[in-house]
Symmetry: C2
Subunit: 201 residues, 2 copies
Amino acid sequence: MSFSPLVEQLMDALRVLPGVGPRTAQRMAMHLLERNREGGERLAGVLREAVERVGYCQRCRTLTEEPLCTLCQSPRRDDRLLCVVESPADMLAMEEAGGYQGRYFVLHGHLSPLDGIGPEDIGLDQLEAIIAEGKVEEVVLATNPTVEGEATAHYIATQIEAHGARLSRLAYGVPMGGELEYVDGGTLSRAFSGRLPFAGE
Amino acid sequence: MSFSPLVEQLMDALRVLPGVGPRTAQRMAMHLLERNREGGERLAGVLREAVERVGYCQRCRTLTEEPLCTLCQSPRRDDRLLCVVESPADMLAMEEAGGYQGRYFVLHGHLSPLDGIGPEDIGLDQLEAIIAEGKVEEVVLATNPTVEGEATAHYIATQIEAHGARLSRLAYGVPMGGELEYVDGGTLSRAFSGRLPFAGE
Ligand SMILES: [Zn+2]
Ligand SMILES: [Zn+2]
């Protein structure tokens, strides 16, 4: 015996959420159907709209439903500084840490040849085009302090050093092997102000 | 700074899910938008359909998108036994425990005067009508072994004893204060076969 086909489909569909196994999916489905149909209806509507309408900012590639994100639209950010991050969540973490006034560029991942993720997949052609405009004086390579993040930073450094912008990397202080998104604001802020020239290998 | 309005709305909507706080909602939203839009689209569709189409079985009140659930449609279940449970998840747990061949009735909760949940809200008029048909010889009061579940069982017992059906309660073996849904199949099965006549106060 099992639940009705549609209820089973719902439990199955909920398992696309990270960290949700069969038991949690059942609890979630029961909660929505038994106690909060209005919330379920709203979630369904917002989720469909977000999946359909949220795309990448044409300039920095962060997630937005507009052609340009709020930050790229702002005239108050410093065009001479460009911070390259792996994800929109990393960008938000940097903003919440405070103190940074430049622009961003979001890779949505890192280079991963084994998974077939190459330079174009993480927007490096677009990043190079921005640097080639000549306004950026310093590129902060704020990819995650992981093996893949470091390798991606090295690749980007090699690709853009010909354009003459200074390259830097977040200072030690960011815990090695961790993910930027989960670093507390204070550490992140200190790591940023103590950033070092990017040295390559 | 925050994410774009639609992304913020999505994180907010995800918080209707039980156990999902701001951090988890952000992780879920990023996962869906960055890595699994197809899964997100599917979840949105199934969720909307389920919230709109899944109702209560006309006979036993379990969740189903059909007028009658599979179990109520089955000619192979014993009409002389009726097991009253608080939720569809409890019904599934009983079925998975095995050994029970009768019918069910689902309350979708328990009596809770302080929350304004009275007899009609948990379908007791409908339950009495089923008992009044005269086919049911034994009613197993399988509400949760909690204060509210016990109180609800007592109320039902008082309401239906005039119709002459035997009343029983799951045997001790079900852990006191626990929720039926999380009891392992073996315990549940043993508690069922050792069920006792319902004694009232
Ligand atoms: Zn942007
Ligand atoms: Zn039914």
